[in-house]
């Protein structure tokens, strides 16, 4: 071998050396919790990484989403936790032959996924409560500097393969949010003129657009409130037709103004083709100082809209728009309804009002409310104030307040304080039967509270909690810790104990050495 050929060989060896597969940083999006896994998005490798906790080990499954010319915009778990959806878009505006896609994978990553072609790099998604549909939109703003239609949306059938791309026929208001007016948040349809509509309400500045997601041919219904009316919808509430008021009504709440909009839904075939359609009759209902929250209640003869305005519950007859109010005597901005048992054993509705920063829960029995003069709410005082409230079930709520956590039993009017050395986060909690599970970020404990005996127990962890996850499908608590390579503690949700828990580390490096 001559010197020259040896030199060429050496140069060839250097030139043929592959690129360093570890040059770029780990780029994992925070995980989303399904009912049986944590799903991470590996943006470096365009993969969806499922961490599947078992009794004594962590299984890992990787699935491709897109390719190296695309990038992941966001990921979400489906409403029921049975799957994960991931939005991908071209990694660069120069990539012209790469389209935007929505990927769906089952929660364990094992079965075949589905891919939906959409037309735009949507930045937000809203999921229907019935788990049927996902609505992709630009409510979170546009994703690049290129020209985009801010009112473009895509309605994706998560149970099938259909994608419906449309532009809202509004009046120019910019889309803010998408809501799914449903009955009790479960039933996906509302009967209008004998037909079932699957309504999606697109809330924009000063207007609302209603779309029947089940009928691609049906016209959209757009309602503009006009510049003269100080109203911009932020929340919807559907009241189906019944014996008291037979037409379905959609209520819209605004953070500004003193009115609630009531859209009465009526059947209206297309005048040109005669195809089935619907329309809305609009009226504005004055509710005192405005509504901070709203609900509905059927009295003996009158259908009521119940709102809070900060210091009272206002009952408005939606037929006559006559109203009366019940003062709470304290701050009341939020409202929820529950069933209560009377002494006689009958079930009545009860309104519960509260407010962040308030000092009490106010419960008001609603039976014959219009006939009872002077009825006042019962007060459940929270001595240290309310920071957050989580409704655990019909009877119990969890209130966090500084270093105290209160379990409030509403029927028993019992407020049990649980104290610790550090603040608890009521949102980082889950209910497993009669057992409350708590894992507050920053703490090194996972705690359980037996709601029957109110006996708290805590299990010390080896590391502070970064995020709390409850996987009901496998009855596991997963407490992730701060480490970019993956670090979690897996505990039995039914009986958390150190003997049955284990730590998993480095699972995001799974297969690191086999690039």
């Amino acid at each position: 071998m001559t010197h020259r050929s040896a030199l060429f060989m050496a140069l060839a060896l250097v030139a043929c050396a592959p690129d360093d597969p570890y040059a770029s940083s780990l780029d994992f999006v925070s995980p989303v919790a399904t009912d049986r896994s944590l799903a991470y998005v590996d943006k470096t490798n365009n993969e969806l990484v499922f961490a599947l906790p078992q009794d004594d080990r962590l299984d890992m499954v990787r699935r491709s989403v897109g390719d190296d010319r695309s990038t992941v915009l966001w990921s979400r778990a489906t409403v029921g936790g049975d799957g994960v959806i991931v939005m991908t878009a071209p990694a660069s505006d120069k990539e012209e032959d790469i389209g935007e896609q929505l990927h769906w994978w089952p929660a364990d990553g094992e079965d075949q996924g589905r891919v939906y072609d959409v037309l735009a790099p949507f930045t937000s998604v809203s999921l229907s409560p019935d788990e049927q549909r996902a609505v992709l939109h630009f409510g979170g703003g546009v994703s690049s500097g290129a020209l985009q239609n801010a009112n473009q949306v895509a309605v994706v059938d998560l149970q099938g393969t259909e994608v419906r791309n449309l532009t809202l026929n509004g009046f120019g208001g910019r889309l803010q949010a998408v809501d799914f007016p449903t009955v009790d948040g479960i039933d996906g349809t509302v009967a209008v003129g004998g037909r079932g509509l699957e309504l999606a309400a697109f809330l924009a500045e000063g207007e609302v657009v209603l779309v029947d997601m089940a009928d691609a041919q049906a016209d959209q219904v757009a309602v503009r409130f006009g510049d003269a009316v100080n109203f911009s919808p932020v929340e919807t509430l559907l009241r189906p037709g019944d014996d008291v008021f037979d037409r379905p009504a959609l209520f819209l709440r605004s953070d500004v103004g003193a009115d609630v909009a009531m859209l009465t839904l009526v059947d209206k075939p297309d005048p040109a083709t005669g195809a089935p359609g619907f329309s809305a009759q609009v009226s504005l209902i004055p509710v005192g100082n405005g509504a901070t929250d709203l609900s509905t209640y059927n009295g003996a003869e009158a259908p009521y809209l119940v709102t809070t305005d900060g210091g009272a519950m206002i009952f408005t007859d939606i037929r006559t728009q006559e109203s009366f109010s019940v003062g709470t005597g304290g701050l009341a901005q939020r409202l929820f309804m529950r069933d209560a048992q009377t002494v006689g054993g009958s079930t009545i509705r009860q309104a519960v009002a509260w407010a962040p920063g308030g000092n009490a829960l106010f419960t008001l029995d609603l039976d014959a409310i219009e006939e009872t003069i002077g009825r006042t709410p019962r007060v459940l005082n929270i001595e240290t104030g309310i920071e957050e409230l989580v409704v655990l079930d019909n009877d119990r709520v969890l209130v966090s307040s500084g270093l105290n956590l209160y379990v409030v039993d509403i029927p028993l009017e019992q407020v049990t304080p649980l104290s610790s050395m550090s603040p608890y986060d009521a949102q980082s909690s889950a209910l497993e039967g009669d057992r409350l599970l708590l894992g507050t970020p920053g703490q090194q404990f996972v705690s359980t509270v037996d709601l029957l005996t109110l006996n708290p127990e805590s299990m010390v962890l080896d590391d502070p909690i970064d995020r709390f996850h409850y996987l009901p499908g496998v009855n596991k608590l997963v407490l992730t810790h701060d480490d970019r390579v993956g670090h979690m503690t897996v505990a039995d949700a039914l009986n958390p104990s150190r003997s049955s828990s284990y730590v998993a580390w480095g699972y995001l490096l799974d297969g690191l050495l086999d690039p």
């Binding site: 060896l13 050396a17 592959p18 360093d20 597969p21 570890y22 040059a23 770029s24 940083s25 780990l26 470096t44 004594d56 080990r57 962590l58 890992m60 962890l461 080896d462 590391d463 810790h481 701060d482 480490d483 970019r484 390579v485 993956g486 670090h487 503690t489 150190r498 828990s501 284990y502 730590v503 998993a504 580390w505 480095g506 699972y507 490096l509 799974d510 297969g511 690191l512 050495l513 086999d514 690039p515």
Partner: protein, 331 residues
């Protein structure tokens, strides 16, 4: 050259204080010329292969200091003649004319002794090479093909340093030497994977048994083939916010061929009698190491929760390798 010079000086200093020895063999391969007869030679050669001149000189020496065993060990184990018996200058000085014994009772008179003519230091006898002991240090590397190694190193080369001791002996008075020895290699790299998200390190210790066959092309240049076998003790560590480590013991086989370049005897201060030399060695070949299933163990505090880690994959550290070094040769 500085190292070679240093070693050369060391070789000179380390050379044993020579007493005249008889040499019985002339090495046909190392360019030794047959010593000529010299009256100052303490123990001339006495080998059947000697040249006639050498035989004559031996016969002369035998008359004054007979060699006990002409067929004695090749390394000059034949007893050397006593210096007093063989040194003619000593005889001359004791037979100085005009000198008197103090015991004669005559008054002492200062008699300046004539200065003895300076005698050149006798060249030591040649020492043919029958065995060699090489003590070496070396540095080298393995060109690792496994991409997973890049998690520990920016490049593909696994650098090593080693020290060794090898003994070999001449086969059948020819040019071929066969032997073996032991060596120990130390390897280590530190790196990071995925930017600085994961700091990694790999440390290896590789004791090995070596076999070597070498051919002395000319004195000063050997071609050799070398095989080493032994375990590779590998320590891996991965550090992020937490850390994990793993120790693995894997088999290792290495084969190298190369050249040794060293100072021939003719260049040594003691010429053919030199016992120590030094040189350079370069070998190129292939190093095979068994694969490691990497699954490190999480480092935890006291009374920890049971921990599990994920399999990180398989790491194979074999590839073309080379080693260059210095050695000190005793022979």
């Amino acid at each position: 050259m500085t190292y070679v010079s240093t070693i050369l000086v060391a070789a000179t200093l380390w050379g044993p204080a020579e007493t005249p020895e008889s040499t019985t063999t002339v090495d046909p391969t190392d360019g030794v010329t047959t010593p000529t007869a010299d009256a100052s030679e303490a123990a001339p050669p006495a080998d059947a292969t000697e040249t006639p001149a050498a035989t004559e000189a031996a016969a002369t020496a035998e008359a004054e200091a007979p060699v006990a065993d002409a067929a004695g060990p090749a390394e000059g184990t034949a007893p050397a003649a006593a210096p007093g018996e063989a040194d003619p200058s000593w005889n001359e000085s004791t037979a100085q004319p005009g000198s008197q014994s103090p015991a004669s009772g005559a008054p002492l008179a200062a008699q300046p002794a004539p200065a003895a003519p300076p005698q050149p230091a006798p060249p030591p006898p040649p020492r043919p090479i029958r065995w060699r002991l090489d003590l070496g240090i070396a540095g080298g590397g393995t060109l690792v093909g496994d991409q997973g190694y890049r998690a520990f190193s920016e490049g593909r080369v696994l650098i090593d340093g080693s020290f060794s001791a090898l003994f070999d002996f001449r086969l059948a008075e020819g040019r071929v030497f066969l032997g073996g020895g032991v060596a120990h290699q130390i390897l280590g790299r530190e790196g990071d994977a995925y930017g600085a998200d994961v700091f990694t390190s790999i440390d290896m210790h590789e004791p090995e048994v070596r076999g070597r066959v070498s051919v002395m092309a000319i004195e000063g240049l050997d071609a050799f083939a070398r095989v080493g076998v032994g375990p590779s003790i590998v320590d891996l560590s991965f550090d992020s916010i937490e850390s994990a480590s793993q120790r693995a013991v894997i088999p290792r086989v290495e084969g190298h061929g190369g050249l040794s370049l060293y100072l021939p005897k003719a260049w040594l201060p003691r010429k053919q009698a030199g016992r120590i030399t030094a040189g350079l060695q370069l070998g190129v070949g292939y190093t095979w190491r068994g694969a490691i299933d990497v699954r490190p163990t999480l480092s935890q505090g006291d009374d920890p929760l049971e921990a599990t880690t994920s399999p990180l994959g398989e790491l194979s550290l074999h590839g073309m390798s080379w080693r260059a070094g210095l050695f000190l040769r005793l022979m």
